[in-house]
């Protein structure tokens, strides 16, 4: 039992934090709001550090690492509300492509090239495998690659991959324009098919679990950014002749949200480990992570807005940039309530007390 990150993992986190502090400021976010289609240099800077290709095999130019290595970096992405699709590309698309890439479909034959393009060139993917046909998919507008699921006429689950050139995407307006929602106009063909049947079903459910944890990690970063901004504002803003942060009502709002965040953190980290190792209860851990992180994010968002008063309700104040991403991600890949329902089903079907771990 050793529940802590290595110095190397923490060092990588610090390097990414430094990079994003420079290249993903709130001014940069506002630029992205104005023109979401611009491709800023930071995605390539991240690729250059090895972040984008972190989960790609070393042979393909990646780092061959897992979610435990990635969660701290996703937290940093959340902290600055990074517009680029790090979760979709690195946490979801690459592992899914690797998992189904050994098959014999035409798309499987292209997996190697796609993964190399991620690792070397910063290819950006969108993953909408939990979306029904016709639903908007985050990041699909402008993605190089879109990964989708469908169900064949006989009920067989399928995973399809669409190259940007091969699919039209209708942009869909979002509360947070940098989410770049898009509705892919497509129909499944034998050429887009990556995998089907039980392997595809397993890969899809693993993708959903990874998404819960990866998005959960982003929410941790967002919550920390929101609470940090709110606490700083509470120290500086004066009313009744003293800082509003000295009022107990304000303190208790912030403290309540801080406690939630502190307890969400180990849930996300523990679930990342469970998915990497493939423990029997890893799906359950992913649900705990997403439910806790969603609640922590929503609470931080509510409190941060309230503590800022009217200034927080303006376009001018930066807080809304983090609020909007939080509201979007809290519902993405399963809300807190969805994950609680999923958890309870799993508890009713299996063990419900700590199991020890010799067999894990």
């Amino acid at each position: 039992m050793h529940f802590a990150f290595t110095d190397q993992q923490l060092g990588f986190r610090d390097a990414v934090r430094q990079l994003l502090a420079k290249e993903c400021t709130t001014a940069d976010l506002r630029t992205a709001y104005e023109d979401p289609s611009a491709r800023p240099a930071r995605w390539h800077s991240l690729a250059g550090l090895g972040v984008v290709g972190l989960t790609a095999p070393e042979a393909a130019g990646g780092l061959g690492l897992g979610l435990v290595d990635l969660v701290l970096l996703l937290e940093e992405a959340g902290r600055v509300a990074l517009p680029e699709p790090l979760t979709d590309t690195t946490a979801l698309a690459v592992p899914l492509l690797v998992e189904l890439g050994a098959g014999t479909t035409p798309a499987a034959g292209r997996v190697g090239a796609w993964i190399e393009a991620v690792a070397r060139g910063g290819l950006a993917a969108a993953v909408g495998t939990d979306r029904a046909p016709g639903d908007a998919v985050a990041g699909a507008d402008g993605a190089d690659l879109v990964v989708l699921a469908s169900v064949a006429a006989d009920g067989t689950p399928e995973v399809h991959v669409l190259d940007a050139g091969a699919v039209a995407v209708e942009p869909v307006p979002s509360l947070d324009p940098t989410r770049r929602l898009g509705r892919p106009v497509w129909s499944p063909t034998s050429d887009t098919l990556l995998g089907s049947g039980p392997e595809a079903a397993t890969a899809l459910s693993r993708t959903a679990d990874r998404a819960a944890v990866a998005v959960g990690a982003e929410l941790l970063g967002l919550a920390e950014a929101l609470l940090g901004r709110a606490a700083a504002y509470a120290k500086e803003r004066q009313q009744f002749g003293r800082p509003i942060g000295s009022f107990q009502a304000v303190k208790h709002l912030l403290a309540g949200a801080q406690v939630r965040l502190e307890f969400a953190r180990p849930c996300v980290y523990g679930a990342a480990w469970a998915l990497d190792v493939g423990t029997p209860d890893s799906s359950r851990a992913a649900s705990v992570a997403k439910a806790y992180a969603s609640e922590a994010g929503l609470e931080a968002a509510r409190v941060a807005l309230q503590v800022h008063g009217a200034i927080g309700y303006t376009w001018e104040c930066d807080v809304h940039l983090f609020l909007k991403r939080t509201w979007a991600l809290a519902e993405a890949w399963g809300s807190a309530a969805d994950h609680r329902a999923r958890l309870l089903d799993s508890l009713l079907a299996g063990p419900r007390r700590p199991q020890g771990s010799a067999t894990a």
Binding site: A4, A255, E262
Partner: protein, 392 residues
Amino acid sequence: MDQPLDLRFTDAEEAFRAEARRWLASHAPPPRALPSLDTAEGFEAHRSWEREMAADRWSVVSWPEEYGGRGVGLLEWLVFEEEYWRAEAPLRVSQNGIFLLAPTLFEFGTAEQRARFLPPMATGDEIWCQGWSEPDAGSDLAGIRSRARRSDAEGGWVLTGQKTWASRGAFAEWCFGLFRTDPDAERHRGLTYFLVDLASPGVTVRPIPQLDGETGFAELFFEEVVVPDAQVLGEVDRGWNVAMATAGSERGLSLRSPARYTEAAGRLVDLYQHGLARDPERTRRSADAVAQAWMDAEAYRLHTLWTATRVLEGGSVGAEASANKIHWSETDLAIHRAALAVLGPEAEVHGGGVDAPWLDGFLFALAGPIYAGTNEVQRNVVAERLLGLPRG
């Protein structure tokens, strides 16, 4: 540290678990077989259980062997607690001593004090209560008025005053408490931490029935009670710092191990499943609350492992203990509220029956946000010390 993140216990830790499980399986009384520890009879029954555990060195596993422990680490202690709660073994009548005073004795006590006080604490022969609160000093602990004056004639200290809400005070043998030794000093200075034999002349104990009608705590009156110098813990006039170490144990890693809640959360799911079979429609309305309560316990387990690793690497727990206390007390309430909701009209049935622990557990959980420093006061600490907000 370059050790990779890994949530598995080692083979050695699992072997320790197996040994604890075997011992508990053949020794622990059946769940709820003993009378309540808040009765004279129950107190003695729980003391006998402490003796039985101590005889086989299971009462204080993390203490050094010389004091009756097994010298195991923090992680083994957490494993032991998992097995203890899984076995639904009796509540620990000696908890104030073993979980709160003992860590403070290890940090501040002299070798003589440890040798004198730890072994009988481990066996349950001397059971301790905590004498901090006074009628006019609750949240504002530094406002205590009970006094101690040094007397050369008596060769020690003479204590006068009143303590209240002392858990298990009605039946305990000893009390650790704070007394004002320098009335002229600033409020937090001039306090001293004393170890007091409640059989001393001048001590009067008045039991106080709690919400559930049982004698869970007591008022303690001190009239010219003589306490030798050897029973001052830490430095004279520096008792506040010593008391804060005890409070850290109470709110942090020591008093409430996660197993208490993960076991109750497991039983909550059992209860929910039982309810589904009896009245599915009504039971399903509690689904979200049951899942949330289970998760709260799981989050506490993971958070504790996270903190334990930090402590084992030389880190310390400061104001984080306040966040911890808020979480465990709210988790306990969430679990028991959900259970009562699942029980529905059965919830109010008291005594006997398989569901009895839920009602008693609920009543006890209600005290959680009050004792060990109220949750409002802990939120002040989180805001000021973790978020850096101004005092006042």
